[in-house]
């Protein structure tokens, strides 16, 4: 029952808060803060309860599958719920200063709460259609945030985002229809228990739809303009959290609902797309002149890392220690990317406030005026490059080790190449920041600079605290990734 209350706080709380923000107007940020505090407490309760009694399951309305919707907070879900509340909290602290005008304030606070609620709903849902509704809510709030950006460029980016996302939704929904046709249920566990001739096509369609939503290469064209064009605190939410929802859905489909419908070749294709994302995103990031565009292309590349897991967890290595390492490494990578990418976008937010630009040339010498946030940027960049000590390092280390253990070293080498590219594209903003030139800046409160620093330190701490994260991720993990010999 405690778990159910905690889940209610995390699911209904943000939605109620969004309505509260809509009505509160000027006091919107206060309402959001209350919801965030309650949400953080609920995450702690869920985490603790899950480690003691295993994944927490709720049958909404008491119905249960197949008629009703089942929710389950497993390790994967609780990890993302925790990452989401931490990132939301940090964004809150910066956004409170950034969104001061009536329009920005009135749109941002309800949208950000809805975005958080939709993310939470997706992480714990076990129902294909419910996941679809959650994803729609998530996408629309994300689009609203992109449209909040200034100028016609932002509106164009938002429109492109909507068109891509709708395409993805429709294709995903077509797959869901086929699943319902073949299985007569939408519940992930019930789908896993049966088999249907429609599975391959359904999985293919749902994967294509979700790949668009997750901006998996080559469906990523909408992401860089959207994430670079949105107001920076919103970019932090969009880049750190939103694409992970589609990723979690893909993981649930491939490894929990339809593990039998995924031939090795298909697993390799997913990883190959991931590799394409790593190389393309990295090379494009090298060529950008504006910080936020570098960060957006970096997100394209970092999302690619997550898909290298597919042939390592599935396929021949399923159920071995290597698969469990790849699973944990990938999810830890997703968490640390969330923390570190939010940190660098919040740095961008502070710098744009201070100097009115995110061109690399204009950032020159900023480290003297704003040392704290520049240090935070450096720390976060270390995690994003995958250097120790950081969550990004542990993530890459675990996945690379798995690839060598399982005799698939090629995927490990792709990760190494991605790390080199990240080092190269982060070198340019870092070199600018620490250049010996006096910048002209408006004063920024030190306390605000501490916000991205806290996130960057959290990303680094994930590298030290990888064992609790690993234990968390083993709770309710699919048989593939449980790390027990076959």
């Amino acid at each position: 029952m405690t778990g159910e209350v905690a889940l209610a706080v995390l699911l209904l709380g943000p939605l109620l808060a969004a309505l509260g923000c809509l009505l509160a107007g000027r006091q919107g940020s206060t309402v959001a803060l209350l919801a965030l505090i309650a949400g953080a407490a609920a995450v702690v309760v869920l985490w603790d309860g899950m480690l003691r009694t295993g994944p927490i399951e709720v049958r909404l309305g008491g119905w249960g599958a197949p008629l009703g919707i089942v929710l389950r907070a497993d390790g994967l879900a609780v990890g993302f719920l925790a990452a989401a509340v931490v990132v939301m909290g940090a964004v809150w602290a910066v956004a409170r200063h950034d969104f001061a005008t009536p329009r920005a304030r009135d749109v941002f606070w309800p949208s950000s709460m809805l975005l958080w609620g939709a993310l939470n709903a997706i992480m714990v849902s076990r129902d294909l259609f419910n996941l679809y509704v959650g994803l729609e809510l998530l996408t629309l709030t994300a689009v609203a945030m992109v449209a909040l950006g200034r100028g016609p460029g932002a509106i164009e980016a938002a429109l492109r985002y909507v068109l891509y996302a709708l395409m993805g939704s429709l294709v995903y929904l077509l797959g869901v229809v086929l699943v319902y046709h073949g299985h007569g249920t939408l519940d992930l566990d019930r789908i896993a228990a049966g088999r249907s001739g429609a599975d391959a096509l359904a999985l293919g369609l749902m994967t294509a739809g979700l790949a668009i939503k997750t901006a998996l290469f080559p469906f990523h064209a909408w992401l860089p303009p959207a994430h670079a064009g949105a107001p920076s605190p919103a970019s932090a939410l969009l880049s750190a959290l939103v694409p992970k929802a589609g990723f979690v859905m893909l993981v649930r489909l491939w490894f929990e609902a339809m593990p039998d419908a995924t031939p090795p070749a298909a697993l390799a294709v997913m990883a190959a797309l991931g590799a394409g994302a790593i190389l393309h995103g990295g090379l494009m990031a090298l060529r950008q002149e504006r910080l936020k565009q570098i960060l957006a292309y970096s997100t394209v590349a970092q999302l690619g890392y997550l898909f290298v897991m597919f042939p390592l967890v599935g396929g021949a290595g399923a159920g071995t220690a290597g698969a469990a390492e790849a699973w944990a490494g990938t999810q830890i990578g997703a968490f640390s990317h969330a923390l570190a990418k939010a940190a660098v976008f919040l740095c961008a937010a502070l710098w744009i406030r201070a100097i009115g630009s995110d061109r690399l040339a204009d950032l020159a010498g900023l480290a003297r005026a704003m040392p704290l946030s520049c240090f935070a940027f450096g720390m976060a960049a270390v995690s994003l490059m995958g250097l120790p000590p950081s969550g990004g390092f542990i993530a890459k280390y675990l996945v690379m080790r798995a690839s060598f253990e399982l005799g698939l070293p090629g995927w490990g080498l792709v990760l190494a190449a991605g790390g080199l590219l990240a080092a190269a594209y982060f070198y340019r903003p870092l070199a600018a920041l620490f250049a010996r030139e006096p910048p002209r800046v408006q004063r920024t409160p030190r306390l605000l600079e501490a916000v991205p620093l806290a996130l960057a330190l959290a990303a680094a701490a994930l590298g030290v605290l990888s064992q609790p994260a690993y234990d968390l991720l083993q709770a309710g993990a699919p048989a593939y990734a449980r790390g027990i010999g076959p």
């Binding site: 209610a8 259609f129 809510l137 709030t141």
Partner: protein
Amino acid sequence: MTVLFDLVLCALMLLAALAAIGGRGLFRATVFFVAYGITVALAWVRLGAIDVALAEAAIGAGLTGLLLLGAVARLRRAGAPEFPVRAGLVPALAAAGVAGATGWVALRVPGAGGLWTEAGEALPLSGVENPVTAVLLNFRAWDTLLESIVLLAALLAVWALAREEEWEAPVGPPLHARPGGVLEGMARLLPPVGIVVGVFLVWAGASQPGGAFQGGTVLAAVGLIAALAGLVALPRPDSGSWRTALAAGPAVFLLVGASGLALGGLLLFPPDWAKAMILTVEVFLTLSIAATLALLVLGPPQPRRMP
């Protein structure tokens, strides 16, 4: 005879769809899109899904058509060049491929059957007699709750399109109906009828096809006609009473859902109280859906320029 009707309906549906993307300009595309929506609604009737047919006709053809017509008119006012609405070869082939594969699999793979038996058994406990309403507001209430909030998210996205200095302006384009003209006459005549139909659709939803979404759409249409004729003043996006109307439905739904925790579970409707709880939710949801849809169609706030 019915086979013939179905064949003609299918042919009309395809023709309307082809005409809509056939490259004869935006206005024609919009008109055929509305025609397509009506044929699809008829198809839902033939499939026995009256609730879906109502929603498709009201939202798919009606409100969406209105939105598209508004967009066409705006483009013309702005002097935008007419651009071709034509499907490219690659997307057309891809769409045909997906449709073909889906159709082939759907015909070849035996269906598992829906959940008719389960829904039928649970229906007496749901508090309503219409199985569609039971699914929407009880068995899968969480979906519907999120859907009602999706509308609000869409409205926020539309409002985000306004410029900062436009936030003080009323929503929607400047409207000028001729006093005493046809539109104004219609706008005085239709609302009483529309309100009765809208309320009936919500009330009937418990036992027959209908419900908050359909009823809300009718009420939104009534409000829009009155607004187009200049009979009601358009609100500003920061209007407190309108925001209350937007939030009331989802808020009541959320609170009723949370109260389930005290009754044994999240979103739980005990059979004895289910009908009262569901009707309460539906009444407020109808209000919010009507307000949200009307504001969505009107669009972001726009400054009124003096002529």
